[in-house]
């Protein structure tokens, strides 16, 4: 494996920092009652989407999970439009119709975060199928956790991708929990690598808190998929710091596990590495910090300053083709 270029090592850190600060702000806004609904934060898991997406091109596609802010930011999302969506504003990625769990961007190749566990994997197989049929070298990446690994759709997707030899990269982002239940209570094998073997899919397990390790595995897996080698699976074992949702008190987690979360911090790890390599000093870290904090503050300001979705906007975007979708009855009664 070639050494990672210094500017990319810095960018990996900056992307993780962007995800971290965006999500911390999201958590704070949620606690303050400024965000409707509920949110799932991926704090502690930033190295996984960052390392994977750094190996992708603009045309490549991803499907994200319900805990998907990080995936989408790593694919290049505009923080302002994301925050606006979380606030239910008209300028959000989904014009306020999707919210946190459904951020979608055609331009960025984000084929949706998804509120349904295990739904993104068949969709990603379809994106890989399109690429093959169109003679494109696009690669389709799909993130899922151990919770989703219990869904039939994930298994069907792995089988299909393998049978059809499609350019799909399955990323098993293992954070220790399926919602509130620990891994060992619902997965019968020690690693998702074992699952991939059942479908004849080559797989590797990496330290999901080491962004450079994730990146290196991604480069290899993406290259294999892109060159017609068929699907691969990358298991990245990471750590979820927050609860399943904001407000989850995590009484089900051992105290010592909660106390030692920061030991696994992918940001600290990468920052230490950059400092040790002489790529960044205290001052450089501060500059990055200020830049990202400012970017997040601008995103919040953009969201707050954006127009509310009008109630009747609820009627838009049900169908692409002409004509009301609803039966004529609705037209008469309205």
């Amino acid at each position: 494996m070639k050494e990672i270029a210094p500017e990319l090592r810095l960018r990996l850190y900056e992307t993780m920092l962007r995800i971290r600060r965006f999500e911390e702000e999201t958590g704070a806004l949620f606690a303050a009652g400024e965000l409707p609904g509920f949110v799932h934060l991926s704090i502690g898991q930033e190295a996984v989407p960052t390392g994977i997406c750094a190996a992708l091109g603009h045309e490549d596609t991803i499907t994200a999970t319900h805990r998907g802010h990080g995936h989408i930011i790593a694919k290049g999302a505009d923080l302002g439009r994301m925050m606006a969506e979380l606030m239910g504003k008209r300028t959000g990625y989904g014009a306020g119709k999707g919210g946190s769990m459904h951020i979608f961007s055609v331009d960025l190749g984000v084929l949706g975060a998804n509120g349904i566990l295990g739904a993104g994997q068949p969709i990603a197989v379809g994106a890989g199928l399109s690429a093959k049929l169109q003679g494109s070298d696009r690669v389709s990446v799909t993130f899922f956790g151990e919770g989703a690994s219990a869904q039939g759709g994930v298994h069907e997707a792995m089988n299909l991708a393998a049978v059809w030899k499609l350019p799909v990269v399955f990323v098993a982002e293992i954070n220790g929990y399926a919602e509130l239940t620990p891994y060992q209570y619902h997965v019968s094998v020690p690693s998702m690598v074992d699952r991939a073997g059942g479908y004849g899919i080559p797989a590797v397990s990496v330290d999901g808190n080491d962004v450079e390790a994730v990146y290196e595995a991604a480069v290899e897996g993406v290259a294999r998929a892109r060159s017609g080698g068929g699907p691969v699976l990358i298991e990245a074992r990471t750590t979820r710091w927050h609860g399943h949702f904001e407000g989850d008190r995590q009484l089900y987690r051992p105290a010592e596990e909660l106390e030692s979360l920061a030991d696994h911090d992918p940001l600290t790890r990468q920052a230490d590495r950059l400092v040790a390599a002489g790529l960044l000093g205290e001052e450089g870290l501060n500059v990055l910090e200020r830049r990202v904090v400012e970017e997040v503050a601008e995103a919040v300001a953009f969201g707050r300053g954006s127009p509310e979705a009008a109630p009747e906007d609820a009627l838009l975007h049900v169908y692409a083709s002409e004509g009301a979708g609803a039966a004529g009855a609705a037209e008469v009664t309205r």
């Binding site: 014009a95 306020g96 119709k97 739904a119 068949p122 197989v125 997707a157 692409a320 008469v332």
Partner: protein, 321 residues
């Protein structure tokens, strides 16, 4: 042309006209389909575009959604409508909602062909009709052609539409033929058609029940001197409320007939449309004819008992005259 050949003809036409179109499902490629409905397409268009899938509807329905999101126009066959239950998430939570959740950015030009309906002793898990379920999902279109001509026209319209569309064919109609030729133009969604003009009673039907309704109309004309207008809905979502209202205002009496149980069924929607649009013209309450509230049984005698036949339609009309 025969009913199943019309499906093949529409597919051939669309595969030829648009390289983004491809067709996949269980046994549709090399074997040519369980009803021979796709015979020859594999040879003509190849294994990439006429694609055999594993028997896992959830996986390939999801793959179709993903393909539709990335520049392809997939046509998927779910061989029996009852199998929708294994992939309903991809239809309802994904295909139907993605455009909406994305704020109009994405489109899902997905066509699903399936065979529904009873009358072939296929048993409770191969005989169901689910148009009421699917028709109640915002984002989906649902059409149900009753003639070979309409199979061609509605299937072409579905494939050219940018919205996910379910084309429900009926197993009981597989043997029928009409004088249609290749080259039928796409039929716009939401347009019902009058199959027989009449003065005294409107009978509303769709799919296999259209033929039954026409036979009932013949009997009523011959034995009772009653002139029935028979409307074929063709499109379930959207529903042609306008034509229903106009016909009800003319005849003052409406009977609807369906293969599905009547509770929360399409007949209830027909009745609602008619009462909203023609209440003052009605001489009798709308009659909804359908099977009793049971699954479709296997044994021929029982299946024949639950399915609405000519007799039950004639009876319902006589009741409101």
């Amino acid at each position: 042309m025969k009913y199943h050949a019309a499906m093949r003809e529409a597919l051939r036409c669309e595969l030829e006209r648009d390289p983004a179109v491809f067709f996949m499902g269980e046994d549709v490629g090399l074997p040519g389909g369980i009803f021979a409905q796709s015979r020859g397409l594999y040879e003509e268009f190849g294994a990439e575009r006429v694609r055999d899938t594993p028997a896992g509807e959830l996986g390939f329905m999801g793959a179709a959604v993903g393909a539709a999101l990335t520049g392809s126009r997939p046509v998927v066959e779910i061989s029996f409508a009852d199998f929708f239950m294994t992939c309903i998430d991809q239809l309802v939570n994904q295909a139907a909602k993605i455009r909406y959740m994305s704020g109009g950015q994405a489109k899902v030009p997905l066509t699903v062909i399936t065979f529904g309906g009873a009358g072939r002793n296929a048993g409770p898990q191969h005989s169901g009709s689910y148009e009421a379920w699917l028709g109640s999902v915002p984002g989906l279109r649902v059409v149900m052609p009753s003639t070979p001509h309409d199979v061609q026209g509605l299937l072409k319209a579905a494939i050219r539409s940018d919205d996910p569309t379910i084309v429900i064919l009926n197993k009981a109609l597989l043997g029928i033929a009409d004088d249609s030729e290749p080259g039928v133009e796409p039929i716009p969604f939401g347009k019902a058609v009058v199959r027989r003009e009449g003065e005294h009673v409107t009978i509303v039907a769709w799919s296999a029940m259209v033929q039954t309704a026409l036979e009932a109309a013949d009997i009523l004309a011959a034995e009772d001197g009653v002139s029935c207008e028979v409307i074929d809905l063709r499109s379930i979502q959207p529903l042609d409320g306008e034509l229903l209202g106009a016909s009800a205002r003319k005849t003052g009496r409406v009977v609807t007939v369906q293969e599905t149980v009547t509770f929360a069924g399409i007949g209830a929607e027909v009745a609602a449309e008619v009462s909203r649009r023609a209440f003052g013209w009605l001489d009798a309450p709308v009659q909804i004819v359908g099977p009793p509230f049971t699954p479709v049984p296997f044994a021929p005698a029982m299946e024949g008992f639950v399915l609405p036949g000519v007799g039950s339609i004639v009876g319902a009309v006589r009741e409101i005259l």
